[in-house]
Structures are given as C-alpha cells and as structure tokens.
C-alpha cells in the first residue's frame, strides 16, 4: 500500500504535472509532424496577433509562426535539460562517491575542489564558458553540466559517508571486494533516492539556465529555443506582446511541472521526511 509508486500516484499535483510533462514531450517529439516546416520559415504576414483559425499564438516580425517555434523549441529545452543533467550526475556522483567512501585526505581535496566550483555564480560561469567555446548546443550542455554538478557531489558524499558504515558494506569489505564494486553495487543503489529527486529539480534549473543563456544571445544559432524567442522579442514588446508572452508561459509550465514531480518523488521516496500532520 505504501510503496513509493502508490505514494507518488496518490499525490494529485504530481500526477497532473507528470501528465503535463508527457504532453510536452510528445509535442517536442512530434514537432516535425505538427509543424513540418522549419520554424524559421515565413508563413504569413508579420506581427499577426494570436487568433483562432489563423496562427494560434501570432507571428513575429518576419512572419514566422510563434507556435511552431514553441513546439520546435521544446525539443531544445528538454534535450539540453536532460543531457546536461545526465552529465552533471555522472560527474557529481563520481566525485561525491569517491569523497564520501574514502574520506580523509581524498575527501578534503575533492570537497575543496567542489567548493571552488560552487562559489562561482553559476550563470556567470556558464556565460563565460559558452562565450569562450562559442555558442552551440554542445557548449551549452557542457557549460550547464560544469556549473551544476557540485550540489550532486555534496549530496552523494553525505549519503556515502553514512552508508559506508553499514554492516552490509563492512561485510563486503571483509570479503575483500574491491572498493569500486562496493561503491557501485552495495552503496550507490541505496543512495539513489535523493539523487533522483535532485535530478528532477536539476532538469528544471537547466531549462531555466538554457533559456537565460539563449535570451542573452548565447543560444545555438541553428536551433530555435524559448529563450531565443523571448530575447528576439525584447525590442518588440510594445508592438507584439505575444512574441515574448507565450514562450515564457511554456518555460513556466515546464519548470513548474518538473518541480511538482520532484516534490512528489521526494515525498514518495522519503516517506519519513514527509511533513507530519499536526
């Protein structure tokens, strides 16, 4: 009855958010089916306000369909959010696991290293990295991963530090199993719950950061994205509010849903931490 799965699906907000994310993912995957033409292509007169029957979300200064850009932009946002989180998890889990398992000097060195990365304001760090590597989808993914792994590594380290003292770990050590095997098969699976929750929230943060970078003109010039759409619409605020309004709403909905799913997962995976009823 109280399995994590049933706890999660008992949380109405989280389930609705998950369904919402599924729809966004489907739209992103089917972008080329829904809007077969390139989102950069002119489809009508410029500055058309949103209208039923016409262009649902209006057109921009070059007569491009905002809705088409939105659907194609979802790909970029989701792709960058997922891939950069995956890379950040690899780095963060690796460093955190080694620091927490071995402790001592290794831990000290790795944690000072992590602290340095954590001190630098992440958006500014990401801006510098993308600016120097040149704006492309790869450099954006690298930049977001480089600035987001420290929180994972601190979390994983804390988990490993408590778990390595457990009896089942000590028994594996007595058996003479190599350290990497103990970390991978004995400790890591038990440390995954908080990592999964953090990962969900990291995807949300990554999407926000990508939109910020694209807004500043550091997006991949070949790919349309929500942040780019808002940035391009900045100077047209008075003439065409819809150009910046809808991409912003798309970001909010996606990030909000990811946060709600993350909270649902957190409550489901750590039922002990769930705020007690009075």
């Amino acid at each position: 009855m109280n399995s994590p799965l049933s706890l999660f699906f008992g949380n109405r907000a989280a389930v609705i958010a998950l369904a919402c994310l599924a729809v966004i993912t489907l739209l992103a995957l089917g972008a080329s089916l829904i809007y077969p033409q390139s989102p950069w292509k002119m489809v009508g007169a410029p500055f058309q306000p949103p209208a039923w029957g016409g262009h649902l979300m209006g057109t921009d200064m070059l007569g491009r369909d905002i809705a088409a850009g939105l659907v194609h932009g979802a790909r970029v946002s989701l792709l960058i959010g997922l891939v950069s989180t995956a890379i950040a998890l690899l780095i963060g889990v690796g460093i955190g696991a080694v620091a927490g398992y071995f402790g001592g000097l290794v831990d000290d060195i790795l944690m000072r290293f992590t602290e340095v990365f954590q001190t630098i304001p992440s958006l500014i760090f990401a801006i510098v990295l993308v600016a120097i590597m040149g704006p492309s989808i790869n450099s954006i993914v690298i930049a977001i991963s480089v600035v987001s792994w420290p929180s994972v590594s601190r979390l994983v380290r804390a988990e490993f530090m408590t778990l390595r003292r457990r009896e089942y770990v000590e028994s594996s050590q007595v058996l003479g199993l190599p350290g990497w095997r103990i970390m991978l098969t004995d400790i890591l699976p038990n440390a995954m719950a908080p990592v999964i929750v953090t990962a969900t929230l990291m995807v949300a943060t990554a999407i926000l950061m990508e939109s910020g970078l694209s807004f500043l003109g550091l997006g991949d010039p070949d790919m349309i994205s929500w942040g780019y759409q808002i940035g391009a619409a900045r100077t047209m605020l008075r003439a065409a509010w819809w150009m910046s309004f809808f991409p912003g709403v798309a970001i909010i909905i996606t990030v909000l849903c990811l946060n709600l799913v993350g909270e649902g997962l957190s409550d489901a995976l750590n039922p002990n931490l769930k705020r007690k009823k009075p």
């Binding site: 001190t119 630098i120 990295l129 619409a233 509010w241 709600l260």
Partner: protein, 325 residues
C-alpha cells in the same frame, strides 16, 4: 578559539578560494584550443597585430604555463585584472565603477525578499491549511518557476508601457539632471521594478523555507512548554518559533548569494541597469573577454565575502554554534 581568530581563519580560506577561482579562470581561457591571445582579443578581427604581440608578451605566452600562471596570480593579488582593449582602461577600474549600482540592486532585492518572504512564510505556517496558506504556496511555486528576464519584460509591458507607472530603463532619468533628494527619489523610482522582480524569486524560496522551518520548530518541546505556561500564541510565534526558525534562512541566504548575483546579469540587461550584470552582457556582445573574466573573479569574490558574513552572523545569532568547527 575566539571570534577574531575564527574570522581570520575564514578570511584566509576565502583568499585561497578566490586564488583557486583565479587559476580556474586562467585555465578556462587556455584550455580552449587555439591562440589564447586571439581568444582574449576577440574574434572580431578589429585588433591589430601589434596589440596581439604586446598582449602575448605581457601575458608571457612564450614562457612555460606555470610561469604564466604565476604572472597572472601576481596580478590578481595586486588587484590587476588586466586591460580591456575595447575601453582602453584597466578591467578593475571598469568593474569598480559599475559595482555600486549592482550592490544597490542586489542588497535591496535581498532585503525585500527576506523580509517579505519570511513574513509570507510565517503567515502560511500560522494559518496552515487555510486558503491563505495555499495561496502563498501556489504563488511561491509559480514565482519559483518563472524566468527572471521574462517576468522583467512582462513587468515593463504592464507597468511602464501600459500603465506608465515606472520607468522601463536605466537608473536615472536621462533627460533630467536632478540634485539631492530629487536624485535619490529618481533612483528609487527606477529601482522599484528591477528590485522587486529580482526579489520575487527569492521571496518564493524564503517563504517556503520559513514555512517548513516554522512547522518543524513548532513541534518541539520548548514550544509545548511555552503553550503549557499559557503564553499568548502570537508571543510564542514571534519569540519562540520564528526566532529559531530563522537559522536555516541565514544559511540559505549565504548559499543563494551566487545565484542572486548571477541573476543580475539578466535583470540588469532587461532593465538597462548600469551595473556589473549589464557590463557582462555588453562585454559579451563586444567579445571583451578580459572584462568578462574580471567579472567572473569579482562576482565570485563577492560570494566569498557574503558567505563569510553569513557565517559570522550565524555565530552571533546562535550561540550554540562552535566557532572553531
């Protein structure tokens, strides 16, 4: 160990962190394939060969990497962040000139977000389960998911372009030369929108944190004792619950400092606020990498200083904390 030696210890550690960040900045620009001088000088082609030769010599690029790093760090310790070739002035001077505007914006945004966030969170905790609680919770979730720059644009659309209440751009009215109190009021008038937008995100964070923290504290034994003594509920909330619930908020303010300073790049760009964030955007457009790297180091140093201050504040507020830990 007393507070003074603790403070010195923290400062020394802070200096090392800043030096490490300097090394990182040095490596970032050199790990990129290609001629670092070309990277530093920009790819625009607007730079002549003589300048590049000078730069090469100044950076000591003919020397081994370790020697180069030494030169760079020596400059850093002396407060020399290099030259901006676009503006023909030392990077440190350019940044210093923009620093007050950014400090005004970030400090006022922090103040307003902590103040209103704690108030909203305390209200939600006291009226737990009522419509006020859910309204605050929903708003907090919404602000937490909204991109700062988008909220800024929408605020400009509504409050500047439609309603005409606040100026959309800059820190002072360009066509007026106000003096004294009129000048202060003019700056405040320009400050309200960027400060509020920057603050809203953190207000959401603080509201959620305060609520959770207060609910946790309110279940502790000393609160039950206070209730058993028959103290009025509002007194218990203020003196017993809120005071203790504020501790995690101080920690969090320190953690969020870097995030807040990063956010100024977006907010200052949207509102044309003449601070470091806007400078970062301009240097980005002009490929003025020395300035960008200078901002990288200076903003990191700001975070280090802010963290030292919150640590100190923590030991003052909570006497249980051992300073030598």
């Amino acid at each position: 160990m007393n507070r003074l030696s603790y403070l010195i210890g923290r400062l020394v550690k802070g200096v090392f962190v800043i030096l490490a960040i300097g090394v990182l900045a040095f490596l970032v620009i050199r790990l990129v394939p290609g001629d670092p001088v070309a990277v530093i000088a920009g790819k625009s082609g607007a730079v002549d060969a003589e300048y590049m030769d000078n730069l090469r010599q100044k950076l000591g690029l003919d020397q081994p990497l370790v020697v180069q790093l030494g030169i760079f760090l020596k400059g850093l310790v002396q407060g020399d962040l290099g030259q901006s070739y676009r503006q023909g002035a030392p990077v440190s001077a350019i940044i210093l000139e923009r620093l007050p505007a950014t400090l005004l914006l970030t400090l006022s945004a922090s103040a307003i977000s902590i103040l209103l966030g704690v108030l909203a969170g305390a209200m939600a905790a006291r009226r737990r389960g009522t419509w006020a609680d859910s309204a605050i919770g929903t708003l907090a979730l919404l602000f937490y998911a909204t991109p700062l720059f988008w909220m800024g644009l929408m605020a400009i659309l509504l409050f500047s372009l439609v309603l005409g209440w606040f100026p959309a751009f800059g820190m002072v009215s360009a066509d007026m030369r106000y003096e004294g109190i009129r000048h202060v009021l003019d700056v405040l008038h320009h400050l309200i929108m960027p400060m509020t937008i920057l603050g809203l995100f953190y207000m959401a964070v603080y509201a959620r944190l305060t609520r959770a923290s207060m609910l946790e504290v309110s279940e502790m034994d000393f609160v039950r004792t206070a209730r058993a003594k028959g103290l009025p509920e509002s007194y218990i909330t203020r003196r017993h619950i809120l005071r203790n619930a504020l501790l995690p908020i101080i920690t969090f303010a320190g953690i969020q400092a870097g995030h807040l300073i990063g956010g100024t790049v977006l907010i200052e760009t949207v509102f044309g606020w003449p601070g470091i964030g806007r400078l970062a955007f301009d240097s980005l457009l002009q490929r003025d990498y020395p300035v960008l790297l200078g901002i990288f180091i200076v903003t990191s140093a700001m975070v280090v200083i802010f963290n030292i201050l919150t640590d100190l504040l923590y030991t003052l507020v909570d006497p249980r904390i051992e300073v030598n830990k």
